[in-house]
Amino acid sequence: MIKFHPSEQHLVLYTAGELSPAMLMMVGTHVDMCSHCQAHVRDIEQQLARKLFGDVEKQPVERNSSLDEQAMLQAIFNSQPATETGVVAANDSLYLEGNHFKLPATLARNSHRIGDWSRLPGKLWRAPVTVGGEEMLNFIYMAENASLPEHTHKGNEATLVVNGVFNDENNEYRDGDFVLLDNHHKHSPATQNEDCLTLAALEGPLHFTSGLSRLLNPFSSLFFK
């Protein structure tokens, strides 16, 4: 049972495509694992679509002379369906230290972005996931009985448990749990008898004022409590 979820605001920005690349991967992977958030995303898609297409009476559409409907219709009827190019086969297997992990769909579709594992002190391993953008996205693997020294975060850090369990002073986090820590949090993550594969992103600023999420402004009381 997943206990920790992304905020409503994260889900809205994910659905609109307006999070940083690293956070899109984080939230997308959580949504893969969480039926509750899947249902939520479907609702948000519907809300955004309703805002975008509106209804005729409230939102009269100005006929814009630049849209030549007949010409565009003809162009569409004459066009060929796009051939699937550059589609990288999804690979949902991840191997590390003799362990096999099955990756959720978002990660599987982006498995070609996963770099090589490197070992860190204290029974930890790290593999970068190259997604572009300012933020770092990494797999962090903690073996059994591993721990990180207490630390704070410079920026916000999001952690998603892909497989296993880890705990800090406050809670225990299991498969699918999504934890957001800001720079006020001090914590010492550790594993006990079970290992833990997590995905971790350093979060950048969110862009509430641009793009599709602006469509939601009238609903902000619903979404940004």
Binding site: T15, A16, G17, P21, L24, M25, G28, D32, R42, E45, Q46, L48, A49, R50, L52, F53, G54, D55, V56, E57, Q59, V61, E62, R63, N64, S66, L67, E69, M72, L73, A75, I76, F77, S79, P81, A82, E84, V87, V88, A89, A90, N91, D92, S93, Y95, G98, K102, P104, A105, T106, A108, R109, N110, R113, T130, V131, G132, G133, G211, L212
Partner: protein, 193 residues
């Protein structure tokens, strides 16, 4: 409001079904006349550039025309489906403008138009039998020493230390053979298309 506008969800879904089953140009034209101007108004606000806005409209509606068979009425309304197509196209437009080769692509995040949209989600819950069968084929391609280690660990469930004891080789050797074997398997899997 006229009863049969495409903003009536049922009617829009019927039109899409007609586009999918009989390539009905009339049905598509009706959808187009409803959705295209709204997409254009939105895209013009977004991009502040009429040409880019027109490109988004044309690309979105072309996908509606060619991929109508991928619309699944049980998963949401026609308007929602068209919104997700436009969302993906906008995302990729913004990405291309930045010329960044490593950037995520919309289809990798939201496979709205993937022909086999459901298979991966189902796979996630699937058992490992198929994977194991596939893996055993790959295992035969490993050098003997590596294959033995892999079989003892993954089929017999021994720990690396137990394998070292059984084969009377150092633990480090077991670890390196495991690592090399997994690397090799990963390559074999990657190139298995």
């Amino acid at each position: 409001m006229p009863p049969a506008q495409p903003d009536n969800a049922e009617h829009a879904a019927e039109l899409l079904a007609k586009v999918a089953s009989e390539q009905s140009r009339a049905a598509f034209s009706e959808l187009f006349r409803y959705f295209a101007p709204r997409l254009q108004a939105y895209a013009t606000r977004q991009f502040g550039n009429e040409q880019t806005a027109m490109d988004l409209v044309q690309e979105t509606m072309s996908n509606v025309w060619h991929k109508a068979h991928l619309f699944k009425p049980d998963r949401g309304s026609a308007a929602t489906w068209i919104f997700t197509i436009a969302r993906n196209i906008r995302f990729d437009f913004l990405r291309k403008n930045k010329h960044r080769q490593y950037d995520l692509s919309a289809d990798d995040l939201w496979p709205v138009l993937a022909e086999t949209n459901d298979s991966l989600d189902d796979d996630y819950a699937l058992d490992d039998d198929l994977l194991l069968q596939q893996l055993s084929v790959f295992c035969e391609q490993l050098p003997n020493a590596q294959r033995t280690v892999i079989e003892l660990i993954y089929i017999e469930g021994k720990s690396q230390q137990e394998v070292a004891d059984a084969l009377q080789i150092p633990l480090g050797t077991v670890k390196s053979r495991t690592r090399l074997a997994l690397q090799k398997l990963k390559e074999l899997i990657k190139h298995d298309d």
